[in-house]
């Protein structure tokens, strides 16, 4: 029998894989939150609702229009991203000059409204979404469903592409500069309000993309995002607000820590991330990758 410290190896790897998958979602969601916070100064509490909207968009397109998963992977983020742009233009842009608290309250209220509407129309029990890649591989020590492997790889690619876009391209340089000093960037002739709208649209589209990827793993339900978003906020705080690579590494890392805890001491698995958050806040208040200003 294969085991380490009397933990059976298949159970360990099974939980680590689960942790990696959860981590993939933490990373994708915290990335969008970090970018939005940096640029808009808004703690976007609708992020979980946007994730849910992404999953719902994919599910509705599949059941009503027979649009397959792969098309939804592009269409759903576009639709939700446009919805985000409308929200930014109509609501968020009016509160940038106010305290963070107003942005928090506005987006929190919006999330409640959106989730409430979906709960009212579709209930909260959730609907299944068929796995787009059936089957799996026997890795010897464990069974790996093919779709879950795909999700981990896709999330990594999405995260690294986002990192590259922000840290290595001209548009990313505008974004970083406007995060630091929007007034001066605007005085150089860059349309900063439009850049802000675009950033919100992209951040929200990223959440929707994560939602589409999650649909075949989780049930598609109105509250699927609100459960996740609390953990994701903890991830952002641990990683350090505004750090892109920090969000990615922390997201995956905390998913793994959570998975490990499930093996070692299951009752603590729901709280371990918040324990880590408390410790990090005591030792390094700006977060693991954050720079104190």
């Amino acid at each position: 029998m294969l085991d380490i410290f009397s933990i059976p190896l298949p159970a360990l790897f099974g939980q680590l894989l689960l942790g990696l998958i959860n981590g993939a979602f933490y990373a994708m969601l915290s990335l969008g939150l970090a970018v939005i916070f940096g640029m808009l100064n808004v703690i976007n509490f609708t992020h979980g609702a946007m994730y849910m909207l992404g999953a719902f968009a994919a599910w509705l397109m599949l059941t009503n229009l027979s649009i397959p998963f792969w098309a939804s992977l592009v269409l759903a983020p576009l639709i939700v991203g446009l919805f985000g742009i409308v929200i930014e233009r109509l609501l968020l842009k009016r509160i940038y000059h106010l305290d963070h608290l107003y942005g928090f309250l506005l987006t929190f209220g919006l999330a409640l409204v959106i989730e409430g509407l979906f709960q009212w129309r579709w209930g909260s029990s959730g609907a299944p979404y068929p796995a787009p890649i059936p089957g799996g591989y026997n890795l010897g020590f464990m069974f790996m469903p093919a779709y879950r492997g795909f999700v981990v790889v896709a999330a990594l690619v999405i995260c690294l592409a986002t990192w590259y876009g922000i840290e290595r391209t001209r548009l990313g340089a505008y974004l970083r500069a406007a995060t630091e000093n929007p007034t001066l960037v605007r005085a150089f002739g860059i349309n900063v309000p439009r850049l802000i709208t675009l950033t919100y649209g992209l951040g929200v589209a990223l959440a929707a993309l994560a939602g589409v990827l999650a649909a075949p793993i989780q049930q598609v339900s109105a509250l699927m995002g609100s459960n996740l978003v609390l953990v994701v906020f903890a991830v952002v705080v641990i990683g350090g607000m505004g750090s892109i690579m920090g969000s990615i590494v922390t997201g995956f890392g905390l998913g793994l820590i959570e998975g490990l805890t499930k093996v070692v001491y299951p009752p603590a698995s729901n709280t371990v991330i918040f324990v880590v958050m408390a410790i990090v806040l005591m030792v390094k208040p700006a977060g693991l990758f954050g720079q104190s200003k």
């Binding site: 001209r170 340089a173 505008y174 970083r176 500069a177 995060t179 630091e180 000093n181 007034t183 001066l184 960037v185 605007r186 005085a187 150089f188 002739g189 860059i190 349309n191 900063v192």
Partner: protein
């Protein structure tokens, strides 16, 4: 005077509730190098920021190349061909030197190439991969000037480019500003350092309490030196 590139008339500006500019008026001819002199708090920086459209509330008239800009947003003003080098330099710490240089987008044809800028400021090329804010004060100032030369803007607003710098660097910046004038840039320079201003400028406007109170041509500086010293309180 040659035809005016910038015409400021009865310009008033506010920061929140405080009324800072009370009717500023002056003109700059094409290719001229003009300074705004005055004590701390006279409104020199606010005048630059008002021209650039950064100050929230402003009234009066700012005409650039015949176009009224006083109601425009700062990004559209920049796109007309005005570039701004702020007093605090505004180097971005999340960008390296070259990214800082490439940040302001070209607004008109005829801007300087990256190579030309590097030949004007060789230090910047050596340190092109360094974080912008890791440069020395002088290098940061050169970066702040260098990055607005690429855009093709023909009016440069320079806010105290010599502040806090060693005399050797001040001299170097003086040479660069003279070179820029020779290249045909029109320059509005805010200075506390009068000796520096006198070395480079064609004319000086003196500001007091949010107004322009006097104009002194470069040729008349020596005979107006007493008057100037009273204005500047030196």
């Amino acid at each position: 005077m040659r035809d005016a590139l910038l015409k400021v008339d009865r310009l008033e500006a506010w920061y929140g509730e405080s009324h800072i500019l009370h009717g500023v008026g002056f003109e700059i001819g094409r290719g001229e190098l003009v300074t705004l002199l005055g004590r701390n708090g006279a409104g020199k920086t606010t005048t630059l920021r008002s021209i650039m459209g950064i100050v929230g509330k402003r009234k009066g008239s700012v005409q650039f190349d015949g176009q009224e800009t006083v109601n425009r947003s700062s990004d559209t003003i920049a796109r007309l061909g005005i570039a701004y080098c702020p007093e605090e330099r505004g180097i971005f710490s999340s960008l390296n030197v070259e990214e800082n240089l490439l940040l302001p987008p070209p607004v008109k044809p005829g801007g300087m190439g990256l190579k030309e800028i590097y030949s004007l400021f060789p230090n910047l090329e050596e340190r092109r991969r360094s974080q912008g804010t890791k440069l020395s004060g002088g290098e940061q100032q050169m970066l702040a000037i260098g990055r607005i030369l690429r855009t093709g803007a023909n009016l440069l607003l320079l806010d105290e480019p010599t502040e806090g710098l060693a005399p050797v660097i001040v001299q170097r910046i003086g040479e660069i500003i003279r070179q820029l004038k020779q290249r045909g840039f029109t320059i509005l320079l805010v200075e506390q350092n009068f000796r520096f201003a006198a070395m480079v400028a064609d004319r000086h406007y003196v500001m007091e309490d949010g107004r322009v109170v006097d104009m002194i041509a470069a040729a008349d500086v020596t005979q107006s030196i007493d008057k100037l010293q009273t204005y500047l309180g030196v």
